[in-house]
Symmetry: C3
Subunit: 154 residues, 3 copies
């Protein structure tokens, strides 16, 4: 691993920071989107939440709705894929990779997650969602492979 | 981005480490709390788990309970909010922010998540939970904005 | 906290990177495993997904299956435990711990999560899963304790 001081101003770290913020904000956006669907369709998970959309607590609004569940599954899939990308991506960025390769990985990952969200929420016909999910997974695995090549100590 | 060696002993990194441990431990505490409710109310997700509370496997204890689900939703909300805070917060701390501002962000976030947990588990009437969730979200977005200002490379 | 340049080539950081990749890849493997069970048992969460296993969309395949839910709970438990380990572990590695101790922590954590997955998916009788989960939790708490000892600034 090269000295961190030599690369901390590098293009790779700067690009890493940019794309991490983009994909994490994208992931966090799923929460307000869930809230929007909950308010619009009056579907809540907790009795006390029904007062956000109704003057008094209303047990009949505590129910499950397919559209809300769809957004929640998309959020969950982000957690399962974006968080590993950010964690592995930090270690990858510190292995001193070629800047063009690293930035391509980050761009492909960010694009794949944007496509995944669109494909999930609209929804688009399969295999659009499956392929965008797989693309992100492959990027993270490629980065993980380089980390293991440069840091192997069991 | 300033050289990392210049700031690694800094107050911001030290405070970041302190608050990360606090909010992550808080998040991890939800798992024992879920177990406590599962044992107390004899509500399990897996047939083999029923033996933890009963001499033999008992299918009728494999069921869903509103109190257990409430704690699980609180845990899930922590995952969706605490993890982005930690990831974005690391990049934010490396931009060399003003120590007083950074520590205020960390304090407000930690306080908002403690309030959120209390408001969710008790539960307190809305909008107490919605506001504490929103406060944490705003802190993470403020930090993300600064990261993008200091590191923008698409 | 020691200067990062002094430890970035250290055994602890190298071992940290290795074990992070191992446990994160293990966690990510749960997604293909879920897909495998979904295809095998024809159980899908979205109507559009049913075309992955059938010529036309088939609403009766949109259902919940205990085996699929078991793998999904295992994946969720990984998210709830592996992510805190990685986040706290990074801060821990930067406190300059004894290499032998740190590597022991990483090994015990990785082993505990592998045991947890086997115990969950097969499944093995309890308390095998509970103990492997608890072992990982204790490792993360030990690391968190050292981080607080070395970085305390509220």
């Amino acid at each position: 691993m090269p000295e961190l001081t030599a690369i901390v101003d590098s293009e790779v770290i700067t690009a890493y920071a940019t794309y991490v913020v983009i994909v994490v904000l994208k992931m966090m956006l799923m929460a307000p989107l869930t809230s929007y669907y909950r308010m619009k369709k009056k579907v809540f998970a907790n009795l006390e939440d029904t007062k956000l959309a109704h003057p008094v607590e209303e047990p009949k609004f505590v129910r499950v709705d397919p559209d809300v569940e769809r957004v929640r599954r998309c959020h969950q899939n982000d957690l399962e894929n974006v968080v590993p990308f950010v964690l592995v991506g930090l270690l990858y960025s510190l292995t001193g990779p070629d800047a063009a390769t690293a930035i391509t990985y980050f761009r492909v990952f960010a694009a794949s997650r944007l496509c995944h969200t669109v494909a999930y929420v609209l929804p688009l016909p399969q295999p659009s969602r499956a392929l965008s999910w797989l693309t992100g997974l492959v990027v993270t695995c490629c980065m993980a492979y380089r980390v293991l090549l440069h840091n192997f100590r069991l």
